[in-house]
Symmetry: C2
């Protein structure tokens, strides 16, 4: 069985859902996010964000290696995963690193699985028949009791903090928390209590498949996200990203990427799932640590920013 | 923090403990195990047993590769570990494989951790402050409530069976279940109910550091176990094993070995612990899949047997 994994999670939403209760402009007032961050209105600001830290040693090793280049500058951590303590040690040793939590309600690789952080008998709606988190975001969202989701994501945040991780932001692995209104409400409530920004793009707010939700004057949204999809052929990887950077619109854009090495561990984990698999992640690593990427950033006057900067707008 | 890992677990026992209530000969009667298995009294019978399946992809890959040679012919599985489902799929596809359960109450690698199978809030005596199984067998045994140990090892057996694993035997990761009488009693009770043989060597029964326990007429013990220790220099690996095979006494001997590749994943897991680390496991793999090993078996008239054969004595 393979995962229907999608990075934003929106593409997998089956039915159009009700729109937002507040428009984006009403939420954020007249100033753009770039202006609120102290940049000109036409600045091109990018967060280069690697997902899935903690999932595997290969992911941790490739992502922290990419951090050394300065070209990848943000990432988020999956707390229920087996290599959490390795990345927690990195976080403690590198307190300046822009590390968020990739809140996790799915366990999508058939050979490498993980369960919840909350006691299993208290979050049974999150588990498959084998006691792991479910394989796909649609299964997970359909079966999940929102109260149990809240207990689980609070447990993930608590565990991360106990290990010395000071998260700069929150996002949702495979977009499970964007699958319906009840889950999104839980996500936003927990994020607000923790005074952390969440991965929501302003452009999502008017999409029919984005669940309606009560947004607040204090919520902060980036302008857009860009992520590569399985329809891009491997040989077109660099072209896809370079074109996206050359055509970038002003505002805050997050490139959501997935880094790992194409090694035995990642091949073992993703053997039946080339999408977001080992070679895919090696291609992302190769492009985002390349001189070509550095050059296209400079040529297009693109400035890298972090979630830590965005989060200051909430905590100020 | 590093693990005080010992393979049999006996070396780490801190205090001498009371001896057995029954002597070995009283337990098994006059026939030797070799004779009960249908071999001559002077037969040299060996189980070549790889521990720690499920711990990492590297362990699974190296062990199943070694099975293909026929020279490694038994292994046991750690149910709480992240790569359990990969080895469960192998077990379902290879029902003849001699696979037991390596009952697990410790999580000894600082960068790669796992928790219990039972709900965490019901086995809290098994957990460290981070919610994982403890790092060392001595810490685990000292803190463990035997009732919670019983719940946990029953949960591990149940999960394995649910995934289609039909275990041929039981043993104890890092020997935690041999650390004191209460844990050994739990282990033996659960093993008897499941009609499965346990890894206990007859030679242990008279050792001062082996906990006293009530053994039954139906319990089956192999004669001895041989496992390499950190005092053997890497360049002496093949000599250690070859000498042990050349000097082998008659009866049933288990070689307890640890297979993996010396690759990025295993190096990441064992980075601060060369004992039982990545290079160690590669050396075990290299010897036990070698022509030199095959030759020394033939030259010394050593026959490989499995736990499945031993277990038939219990189930008949």
């Amino acid at each position: 069985m393979t995962s229907s994994r999608t990075s934003s999670g929106l593409a997998a939403a089956r039915r159009p859902r009700r729109g937002l209760l507040l428009s984006a402009s009403a939420v954020n007032g007249q100033q753009t996010l770039a202006e609120r961050l102290g940049y000109p209105r036409d600045a091109k600001l990018v967060i280069v964000h690697a997902d899935d830290l903690g999932m595997a040693h290969s992911v941790n090793a490739a992502t922290t290696k990419a951090f050394e280049t300065g070209l990848v500058n943000s990432a988020s951590i999956m707390v229920p995963c087996p290599w959490l303590t390795e990345i927690a040690a990195y976080a403690r040793a590198n307190p300046q690193a822009d590390l968020g939590l990739h809140l996790t309600l799915t366990s999508e690789w058939t050979n490498l699985r993980w369960g919840p952080m909350a006691p299993k008998d208290r979050v049974s709606s999150l588990l498959d028949k084998d006691g792991y988190l479910r394989l796909t975001e649609t299964e997970a969202a359909e079966a999940a009791d929102p109260k149990e989701v809240e207990m689980e994501i609070r447990a993930q945040i608590e565990r991360a903090r106990a290990l010395g991780i000071v998260p700069t932001h929150l996002d949702s692995h495979m977009g499970t928390l964007y699958q319906n209104k009840a889950l999104l409400e839980v996500f936003l409530r927990v994020a607000r209590e923790n005074k952390l920004p969440v991965r929501i793009a302003k452009e999502w707010l008017t999409r029919a498949d984005f669940p309606g939700s009560s947004l607040s004057q204090n919520d902060v949204f980036i302008d857009r996200m860009i992520t590569i999809t399985p329809d891009v052929a491997p040989q077109d990887w660099a072209k896809f990203y370079s074109d996206a950077l050359r055509n970038l619109q002003p505002g805050v854009t997050e490139f959501v990427i997935h880094l790992a090495y194409d090694d035995a561990e990642m091949r073992g984990a993703t053997f039946n799932h080339p999408n977001w698999g080992a070679a895919w992640r090696q291609r992302d690593f190769d492009f985002f640590t390349s001189d070509a990427f550095r050059k296209v950033l400079a040529e297009n006057n693109i400035k890298l920013i972090t979630w830590r900067e965005v989060g200051k707008l909430i905590r100020q």
